[in-house]
């Protein structure tokens, strides 16, 4: 193989590791099929019909703190790594912090490579910065985050 820096920047070690680790992917098929949840809980299903990437993500909030993210999904390495990183990063954040993080992540993803992903701001999610150079893959990276955004809105609505 000849090196390809843009592709190698997208498929960093940490991304490939997370794609295998799938942190938080312990939501059962039964739970994913449920339609009503406890208070402080939100659940969203996202599907990318182009490639079949799919995720059902459940988020619980305790007071003002994100208690946990559990998900069930299948898809490419970018979508799975992104969900895994999100599940790790979000835990313990305040609702407002996660909302801000999702906004910042979206901004970087939509930048077509023009923004540098700041590790100070995005944590491990900064490793996904290389995806923004590949418009066709931005949806893959955003899948779990869009689901989390919806679940967060549900969970934090009294």
């Amino acid at each position: 193989m000849q090196p390809n820096s843009a592709m190698d920047a997208m498929y960093q070690e940490i991304i490939l590791d997370h794609a295998k680790l799938r942190s938080g992917s312990d939501l059962s098929a039964e739970e994913a099929a449920e339609t009503s949840y406890d208070a402080g809980c939100g659940q969203v299903h996202q599907l990318n019909p182009v490639c079949g990437d799919e995720i059902t993500l459940r988020l619980s909030v305790d007071g003002n703190t994100v208690e946990s993210i559990h998900w069930l999904g299948d898809g490419c390495s970018i979508s799975m790594a992104s969900a895994s990183i999100l599940a790790q990063e979000a835990k313990g954040m305040t609702v407002e912090e996660l909302r801000t993080l999702i906004g910042q992540f979206r901004e970087v993803m939509r930048s077509r490579g023009s923004m540098v992903a700041d590790e100070e701001v995005l944590g491990d999610a900064a490793a996904l910065g290389g995806v923004s150079k590949f418009p066709a893959r931005v949806k893959c990276a955003m899948l779990a985050w869009v689901a989390a955004e919806g679940a967060l809105a549900q969970a934090s609505t009294p």
Partner: protein, 436 residues
Amino acid sequence: MDAVHESAPLDDAAVRRIRNDFPVLSQQMAGRDLIYLDSGATSQNPISVMEAEQEFYEQRNAAVHRGAHSLAAEATDAFEDARTTVAGFVGAGEDELFWTSNATAGLNLLAYSFSNASVGTVSAEAARFALGPGDEVVVTEMEHHANLIPWQELCRRTGATLKFIPVDDDGALRLEEAAVLIGPRTKVLAFTHASNVLGIINPVAVLVALAREVGALVVLDACQSAPHLPLDVKALDVDFAVFSGHKMLAPTGIGAVYGRAELLNAMPPFLTGGSMITTVTMEAAEYLPSPARFEAGTQPVSQAVALASAVDYLRETGMDRVHAWESTLGQRLVAGLSAIDGIRVLGPKPGVERTGLAAFHVEGVHAHDVGQYLDAQGIAVRVGHHCAQPLHRRLGLTASTRASTYLYNTTDEVDALLEAVAEIRPYFRVGTGKEQ
């Protein structure tokens, strides 16, 4: 090309000369020569086709079948000559072929025409296309969504029932099941000539014989056959066939439907309006015979001219030679892919007949990642479900990667793909013994 070359089988040297006619192929992608292996999705146009379309606009453009001026007559001649050329290419009479925007539009048109025969008051001759509760439409499990969903919708509208012929683990139709499924209730049998995923060429004669026994209409999706092998709709004895120009060296926006003349002149139209009528009153209208009957409104004239030019190009090259060359490439693909660790090729095994394409699954790596890796090597392939979700589900997959060749692909290009595919699992740290 001289006469000797025209009859000799295609080889890499001849294909390199063919490539000179396709400017889009001689460019760099990701810093290396573009390797275009996605002709199953859309093919490239030779210079002669683009020139034919431009020449039409420069010298003959006018409204066809309207007006008495000389330019309109020239445009009409060009339009009808194109029909004669394309109809001849597939063995149809010139009154037996009408234009659509693509094969999807053609299949939908047929389903809606059958629909129109199923509601309200229709003539006795149109009643043969009517469907209702108790009637059945039979398709196959390998169909492209374009030859599935229009029939699902037709059944929903009419109360008819949709059945399908299942495939085996290699994707071949289970013909013993077909013999049971196709019965007295079957009104329509719709199936693909060549699979866009498996590369399988279906046994048309066997299926047509089953349909003839019960008087069912046969609709053939020739999208993946008309561009790649000699096609004679009369010899195949199908009632209808559809194909798309953009898959056979022509621009987008043009396709065609073949129908037996006797059927086309009895079938109710789908789109109605200008250019397809004889007498119109405020209450009703009488329709022209085929093909005008199915060509309401302004037609894609320059695209039809371009498709005829594409057909000329294919004819001059020789469809037997095109078919033979693509079979060689298809076999090279499937043999090479099958020899790589962790690669599962869908469809027929090496050595078994297939068209010049192969879809495959890379164990442990999602198709989207496979496509990304290949793109970084300048190799264009299709990833996803290729508009055949039920087939992928049957084969236990959600997506696959497809490399599809055409008359302008070389064995070197196939070999470059094989080399790149072998690198994919190690790159993604999948498999044993090859981790970096």
